[in-house]
């Protein structure tokens, strides 16, 4: 699942998404409502409290890949400001995938937290 290429060095204020989590974050963003590419990026920045900045190239590539996996569907529609955009929506398979990845992430994040606690 973790195809995402290295998104470069970790910057201070605006950080790239943690390696390997972009797919899960996209699925999460889309679980709330269908969005277009830019909208997904903006939503992730907002939700992360502007900690994460999503690389557009990685985002668009990931969208294509997730659609190929069958986790997303897309269609062209008008945005509120009257531009034509490609809107992505979560499929049933995508929803299932999101649940699995969330569980997995929680397990691993917990483990990391325990390690760090122990050291602290």
């Amino acid at each position: 699942m973790y195809f995402t290429k290295s998104e470069g060095s970790v910057a201070d204020a605006n950080t790239d998404v943690i390696q390997g989590t972009l797919d899960m974050l996209i699925l999460k963003a889309l679980s709330l409502e269908p969005l277009h590419g830019f909208g997904i990026g903006r939503r992730l920045e907002q939700l992360s409290g502007h900690v994460f900045k999503v690389n557009p190239g990685s985002l668009l590539t990931a969208l294509t890949r997730l659609e190929r996996y069958g986790w997303l569907e897309s269609e062209w529609a008008d945005t509120p400001n009257a531009r034509r955009a490609r809107f992505y929506r979560l499929t049933r398979a995508g929803r299932k995938q999101l649940r699995e990845e969330t569980t997995d992430w929680a397990r691993r994040a917990g483990a990391i937290a325990r390690i760090l606690d122990a050291e602290g």
Binding site: L60, R68, N81
Partner: protein, 879 residues
């Protein structure tokens, strides 16, 4: 993630690649627009906002490529691009491309066609359920070892006494003439005992199988026909079941039609079957005790083939009541049991195996050739590739241009090869005298196409990768070191030596076959085949019930033919040399002590008319010939072959001696000795023959050969001869018309076919080996121009420069000859069955081929050596 979805969307993307590209571009533009708008909202100017958004996004082309690379189809697209480029490059060197593709086409065509033939004939089991349990059983004869047809009595005894056979049947050939439903037509068919189709395990598709009641003497006549005959003569009308047709003038009811897919491998031409109807009470003088039936049986599933062999051997050894055996069917020699598959394939197996090996060798040499040519191309483009490498092209990316070229060549070669395979298979099927079994199953089918595709793709990949791998150590940086070049040259010389070795193997095979055929052609057949036309006239039906009518008809036919203009003489015989006839009777003398125990006492029996010897051109060595005065009722006389005279009457004058042929009381007085005649084939050596006057043979022969010696080209009188015979009786079929010269040629057909194939393969191999040697030498001279120039400058003579090039050529050839000679020696054993009076390790052939290859190597060295010698020493200074 389903594989299906991957594949489907991948294909969709391939098909709609333009639309998909546009979608991606639109999406990126939209992203840019939204991002610009967002920056504007934060207070940037239009221009600044757009710039910031573009900076965020990075290179749009890069993103597009990255997105497009998500699916597997991109790999295909880049491959297609490589292939397109490869085609463009190959078009710049059309000669190279044409030669390589053509040789590959020949190799793939030959192997694919052999695959198409060998698979149904030798590899697949016969088209019957549990076909491996079907066996043929033959009487081994008194001497043992020579399979002869069984008698009905033997069949009944085997069926009654064997425990390990599930079922068994006997057959004999039957050629009825069909009257009505259009023109009279002679059909090929079989008389079979009732269980025949149950033994095979295939029953009629429409109607019913033969029952036990059908197979009794005097039962109402019934027949089963093939699907082909049903459609052709009866319009595929199912109501033909139960209908009465006329065969040889008698009423026969059709009871069944075999499935369209039914193959009668036993006798492939058979279109119609009838029950044998023999008398199970086995009258002693009846046909029931004649050796003329073929026995086929199905071994029980719980029994093994050798169990059956042992059981039948024990049955043969222990005669038991109530089964009586006459002297000529005593089963003293036991039985010969063979899988049915062997019977079907034994005849063609040696030829097919040899041609297949030849085709594979050719394929191998074509593959080595393409590898070698790709190596040369790689070497030519070394600088270009090194530059690409220096500019940062990945190693894989460097390999793809050569791989693309090799693949294009292989695919073109493969496509041409498949076309060639279609032609070759059709030619093989049509090739008279080869008589391939299972013709209906031989075709270039999907399996053969897959075989060809797999072959060409793997050859393309291998040929495309080897040069890249061999070169890549040197490509890493421009100007590869001398060690790499040297290694690369060793590799090429090795491949050329391999080509020479393969050519050696093929040339040895071709040489042995050519010499065999030449020896065969030198065999005296025992008759003079020039200007002799032969044909067979058959009699059947009510009007020929009485033997006298049959004899009268044949006599009138001979008279009528004799009067045809251009005919020198005409005669009749019951069997004709080189036709496949093999009518054998046991022969005896008053004192059989001359014959060593265990020796075969049988001889070919010819029932002949007067003039037969003169017409066939068979030499009379002693005594007199058979003439018009040797009539029925006169003293029975016979002519014997020189071999019979020597074997049966050693040290005695055979003239005037008594000779028995067949039945115990069937004695003849020998009146003449004639030269030995080849009956079965030119290669076979069983010349014992006895000739008796047709009028004095106690049974009537219902089919006779008419032999016509002409003063003109025999083919030109065929029509007149046919008309003359029809003038006597228009209803009797005239079959198997051919000149004796054609029959002599046909008897060598198999050797000739294999020889032709090997000649072609060997010629191509020789050509490729020569081109290969030339290529390596020429390339070497170009690459070593500087070195040669220096050597010339320091005083090396032109002769020594030329000598060096020549020595390289000889060295490559010598290695190839030694290796190839050893391989040929090991493989030539598989040719033995096709060779005639020549050893498979015939020294002359090996030496001759080696000399030929050395000459080829020398010839191919001439031009490179000349070029090397003309290199100016000044070149060394200039470069």
């Amino acid at each position: 993630m389903s594989l299906r979805r991957q594949i489907v969307s991948g294909f969709r993307a391939l098909v709609r690649s333009a639309a998909a590209d546009r979608d991606v571009a639109d999406e990126i533009e939209h992203y840019l627009a939204e991002a610009t708008a967002a920056y504007r909202e934060r207070g940037l100017s239009d221009h600044e906002a757009r710039r910031a958004a573009q900076l965020d996004l990075g290179s749009r082309t890069a993103i597009r490529q990255e997105i497009r690379a998500v699916g597997w189809e991109t790999g295909i697209e880049s491959l297609l691009l490589d292939l397109r480029r490869a085609v463009r490059r190959l078009r710049r060197s059309p000669a190279f491309a044409a030669v390589t593709a053509a040789t590959l086409a020949l190799g793939i065509g030959a192997s694919t066609s052999m695959f198409s033939v060998v698979r149904p004939v030798l590899l697949q089991s016969l088209p019957y359920p549990d076909a491996d349990r079907l066996v043929t059983i033959a009487d081994a004869g008194d001497a043992g070892g020579t399979p002869i047809d069984v008698t009905f009595g033997t069949f009944l005894e085997v069926v009654a006494r064997s425990r390990s056979l599930q079922s068994a049947a006997v057959t004999r050939s039957w050629q009825p003439t069909l009257n009505g439903y259009g023109d009279a037509e002679r059909l090929d068919g079989q008389s079979v005992s009732g269980d025949y189709f149950r033994v095979l395990g295939v029953g009629p598709a429409i109607g019913r199988d033969f029952s036990g009641a059908d197979d009794r003497p005097g039962a109402p006549q019934v027949a089963i026909i093939t699907d082909g005959l049903w459609r052709r003569r009866f319009g595929g009308d199912a109501s033909v079941i139960g209908r009465t047709i006329r065969l040889d003038g008698a009423a026969v009811t059709i009871v069944g039609i075999m499935p369209r897919t039914f193959e009668n491998v036993w006798s492939a031409q058979a279109q119609i079957w009838r029950p044998l109807g023999y008398d199970p009470s086995l009258p002693v003088q009846g046909r029931e005790w004649g050796h003329h039936l073929q026995l086929i049986a199905r071994v029980r599933s719980d029994s093994k083939l050798d169990t059956t062999s042992r059981e039948l051997a024990s049955i043969a050894r222990t005669p038991a009541a109530p089964f009586s055996r006459p002297a000529w069917a005593s089963l003293r020699g036991g039985f010969l049991i063979n899988p049915l598959q062997d019977l079907v394939t034994a005849r063609v197996k040696p030829a097919l195996r040899s041609v297949t090996i030849g085709a594979l060798l050719l394929l191998l040499i074509a593959a080595v050739n393409i590898v070698n040519l790709m190596l040369a191309r790689g070497a030519e483009r070394r600088t270009e590739l090194a530059t690409c490498a220096a500019l940062g092209a990945s190693r894989a990316r460097l390999l793809t241009p050569l791989l693309g070229e090799a693949l294009v060549l292989a695919l073109v070669g493969g496509t041409l090869g498949v076309a060639l395979a279609y032609m070759m298979v059709n030619a093989l099927i049509a090739f008279e005298g080869f008589a391939l079994p299972r013709l209906d199953a031989i075709r270039v089918d999907p399996a053969a196409l897959a075989f060809a595709a797999a072959l060409s793709t793997s050859i393309g990949i291998i040929a495309g990768c080897i040069p890249g791998l061999a070169l890549s150590p040197g490509i890493e940086a421009p100007g590869p070191g001398p060690r790499v070049i040297a290694g690369h040259h060793r590799l090429r010389r090795g491949f050329v030596a391999a080509e020479v070795a393969l050519a050696m193997v093929l040339l040895v095979g071709a040489g042995l076959l050519v010499r065999s055929v030449r020896q065969l052609m030198a065999v005296p057949p025992g008759f003079r085949p020039e200007r002799v036309l032969t044909l067979q006239v058959q009699t059947a039906g009510r009007e020929f019930r009485s033997p006298d009518t049959v004899r009268a008809l044949f006599e009138s036919v001979r008279e009528a033919v004799r009067r045809v203009p251009g005919v020198a003489s005409a005669a009749l015989t019951s069997q004709l040399p080189l036709t496949g006839d093999g009518d054998i009777y046991g022969a005896g003398t008053k004192d059989d002590s001359a014959l060593p125990p265990g020796a075969d006492p049988s001889a070919y029996r010819y029932a002949i008319s007067a003039d037969y010897l003169a017409t066939m051109g068979i030499a009379l060595e002693r005594g007199r010939t058979i003439n018009e005065q040797d009539r029925s009722g006169g003293q029975p006389v016979a002519l014997i072959s020189a071999s019979v005279a020597r074997r049966r009457f050693p040290g005695r004058d055979p003239i005037g001696q008594q000779l028995r042929l067949g039945p115990a009381d069937n004695w003849f007085t020998v009146v003449g000795v004639v030269s030995n005649v080849k009956q079965l084939s030119l290669a076979a050596s069983s010349p014992d023959a006895v000739y008796v006057p047709e009028a004095q043979w106690r049974f009537v022969d219902r089919a006779m050969w008419v032999v016509i010696r002409t003063t003109v080209d025999p083919a030109t009188i065929e029509t007149a001869a046919r008309q003359a015979i029809r003038g006597v009786n228009p209803n009797q079929p005239i079959v198997q018309v051919a000149t004796m010269e054609q029959r002599v040629a046909a008897s060598m057909a198999r050797q000739r076919l294999v020889m032709g194939a090997f000649d072609t393969f060997a010629a191509v191999a020789l050509l490729l080996a020569t081109i290969g040697i030339y290529g390596v030498l020429a390339g070497g001279v170009i690459e070593r121009t500087k070195e040669i120039a220096v050597r010339t400058a320091v005083g090396a003579s032109r002769a020594s420069i030329m000598g060096q090039v020549g020595r390289q050529a000889i060295a490559m050839a010598a290695i190839g000859i030694v290796v190839g000679g050893a391989v040929a020696r090991a493989m030539s054993r598989s040719l033995v069955a096709l060779l005639f009076e020549i050893s498979p390790i015939d020294g002359l052939t090996y030496v001759g081929v080696a000399v030929l290859l050395l000459i080829a190597a020398t010839v191919s060295a001439i031009v490179p050596a000349w070029r090397a010698a003309r290199i100016e020493p000044a070149l060394a200074l200039r470069s």
